[in-house]
């Protein structure tokens, strides 16, 4: 079983007057796991359902390898999908749930039994096969849904927030397990989530969605190191990046703040960003501590500098209390610069 290349070209979807997708272009390489990350209502599920063939695109095309598939019935697309609610059939046993796709393909009985048992074994739910979904735990239901998606050996696996209904502990082990299975089987997969730690931990690449659009499609590392837009900068990373609106003028000026930049930047309006963990405390920007939140070994500081509120992480061994005055340093090489539209300004080679 080898995955396919999945290519989305200019996907647009309207629901009446609602423009759910404004034009999605993405290419997934075979065997890759891509996460769709974005706030609620930004069109992640809609994109998935277009790929699955449940919805018809208003415009645009979908290709698996070089075959166009967006006119095909869902059953002819060779897709496995796990829904957020698992969507198991409550009147069938777990066995029959998993067997359902095979029965529809008229696979011989013995073969069905073999495949279902094998898949159940793979997911560790062999003991529950004769029960109905309502009588097993949430984690087992989720596995059954995954088994049902995998049993027909699909070429593409779509996962719509498969972990969001699990409790925190199981969620972590399920993450690792899905990741392992996906790599083992080599199926090109899409994982929808609005939990960024899930996306960053599991995916080869992440597509960050804002309303109806993909803001950036990159590896987790790139998203973190070089966010393409202020939206991504503010959405990826915890705590989120500090963003200041102001003007480039040799240095960056935002009311009351003047932050030196390396030479060679264009002028004009724009944004400057710095991650809380990149702020150092050996500079000239005066700030006052408003709040200290202890996060394990470090503390997250909420600071006020010239009327701007920002966050910073304390360094190890640093003693800070509310009301303290600190002198901040924004290291030049850690700054993220964005133009007036919020697009990243490529750092000049220095």
């Amino acid at each position: 079983m080898t995955g396919v290349t999945v290519r989305l070209e200019g996907l647009v979807k309207h629901f009446g007057r609602v423009q759910a997708l404004k034009g999605i272009d993405l290419t997934l390489t075979p065997g890759e796991l891509v996460a769709f990350l974005g706030p609620s209502g930004c069109g992640k599920t809609t994109t998935l359902l277009l790929i699955a063939g449940i919805y018809k695109a208003t415009a645009g095309q979908i290709f698996f390898d070089d075959r166009r598939i967006d006119h095909l019935h869902p059953r002819d697309r060779d897709i496995g999908m796990v829904f957020q609610s698992y969507a198991l059939y409550p009147h069938l046993t777990m066995f029959e749930n998993i067997a359902f796709p095979l029965r529809l393909q008229r696979v011989p009985k013995a073969e069905v039994k073999r495949k279902v048992e094998q898949t159940a074994e793979l997911l560790g739910i062999s003991e529950q096969l004769l029960r109905r979904p309502a009588l097993v735990s949430g984690g087992q239901q989720q596995r059954a849904a995954l088994a049902r998606a995998l049993v027909k050996e699909p070429r593409v696996l779509l996962l719509d927030e498969p972990l969001s209904n699990l409790d925190a502990l199981i969620r972590l082990s399920a993450r690792a397990e899905i990741r392992r299975l996906q790599k083992e089987l080599g199926i090109t997969s899409i994982l929808v989530t609005h939990d960024q730690s899930e996306a960053l931990a599991m995916a080869d690449r992440v597509a960050v969605f804002s309303v109806g659009e993909v803001e950036q499609f990159a590896t987790p590392e790139e998203l973190y190191k070089a966010p393409a837009t202020t939206f991504v900068a503010g959405f990826v990373g915890f705590p989120p990046m500090n963003l200041f609106e102001g003007r480039f003028n040799g240095a960056f000026e935002a009311k009351g703040l003047k932050i030196p930049l390396s030479p060679g930047h264009p002028g004009g309006k724009g944004y400057l960003g710095i991650r809380p963990e990149d702020i150092r405390f050996d500079g000239e920007i005066a700030a006052r501590v408003l709040l200290v939140e202890v996060l394990g070994k470090d503390s997250l500081l909420t600071l006020e500098a010239a009327g701007h509120i920002l966050k910073a992480m304390s360094l190890e061994g640093m003693q800070v209390a509310i009301g303290d005055e600190l002198l901040l340093n924004f290291p030049v090489e850690k700054l993220h610069l964005f133009d007036a539209e919020g697009k990243r300004i490529q750092r000049q080679a220095s």
């Binding site: 699955a52 957020q84 609610s85 009147h91 359902f100 529809l104 027909k152």
Partner: protein, 275 residues
């Protein structure tokens, strides 16, 4: 020691008084059917085997055999129930799940149709059946009865389908089901409580139906039990014993149906997925 609180005893008496006429009717039916003669509610004479002669006499004064009428009644009620459940379920599924032009108008129209008294349509129905060649046939009345009950059936079933999860249907489509397979293998089994409820009501309503067969059936070979029973009323000398016997015979299948089916019927709403 009183078994019931004072207030409840009063209520009990009240209920008994209200129930008395119905109970009396049932007792009269039972006694009249079982004994030669009944004065008031006091049986006279022996067991009235004469009252049950319709069972073994091929024909009682020119009527068709009771067994023909019974068969007709069973076929009538059964066919009406099957048609009503099947058509209602399919129509309701389409209305609940699919979008098509005039959908909401259709829904309102269906409800309005149900508000029509069937009897006001009877002349038109008579003509239509004549033209179709279905007048005086069991099939004709079956179709009429089933159609008249469809609006209610569709509304009832739509409510059940509306509660199915969309994600589950999407899952079935991705799993490879066509709309048709999805309907039969996923949607329909999940609205089983609705089917049982609608089927039961359809069956009972058709079993007790009188006015439609009375108007649309003439020849004895198509008589249902209701017509058979009614035929005693027109005679100058009414044999009450015989009539009570036929009446009891007419009620028995329903009683039997409830006795055998009550386990399922009472569980209609307890998600009785185990059967």
């Amino acid at each position: 020691m009183p078994l019931l609180p004072q207030r409840w005893r009063l209520l009990l008496v009240l209920l008994l008084v209200i129930g008395l006429p119905i109970a009396t009717g049932l007792i009269w039916l039972l006694l009249t059917a079982l004994f030669d003669r009944v004065h008031g509610l006091i049986p006279q004479g022996d067991f009235g085997s004469e009252n049950w002669r319709f069972l073994w006499q091929g024909s009682v004064s020119g009527r068709p055999s009771i067994w023909v009428a019974l068969l007709n009644s069973v076929m009538f009620a059964g066919a009406v129930a099957v048609i009503e459940v099947l058509v209602s379920a399919m129509a309701a599924y389409a209305i609940s799940r699919m979008r098509f032009p005039l959908r909401s108008m259709y829904l309102r129209f269906a409800l309005m149709l149900h508000a029509f008294p069937a009897i006001s349509l009877i002349i038109a129905i008579f003509y239509i059946l004549r033209i179709l060649g279905l007048f005086d046939t069991l099939i004709g009345v079956i179709l009429v009865k089933a159609s008249l009950e469809l609006p209610l059936g569709i509304w009832l079933m739509k409510g059940f389908f509306d509660h199915l999860s969309w994600e589950m249907e999407m899952a079935a489509l991705v799993d490879g089901a066509s709309r048709w397979t999805l309907f039969w293998r996923i949607a329909l089994p999940l609205v089983r409580p609705g089917i049982l409820a609608l089927g039961t009501f359809a069956l009972l309503s058709a079993w007790g139906e009188f006015i439609l067969p009375f108007t649309l059936i003439v020849s004895g070979k198509s008589w249902t039990l209701a017509l058979y029973l009614q035929s005693f009323m027109g005679e100058s000398f009414i044999d009450f014993g015989l009539m009570a016997g036929v009446g009891l015979f007419y009620v028995l299948p329903v009683v039997l149906f409830f006795l055998l089916g009550q386990r399922y019927l009472l569980n209609i709403y307890s998600g009785g997925a185990k059967g």
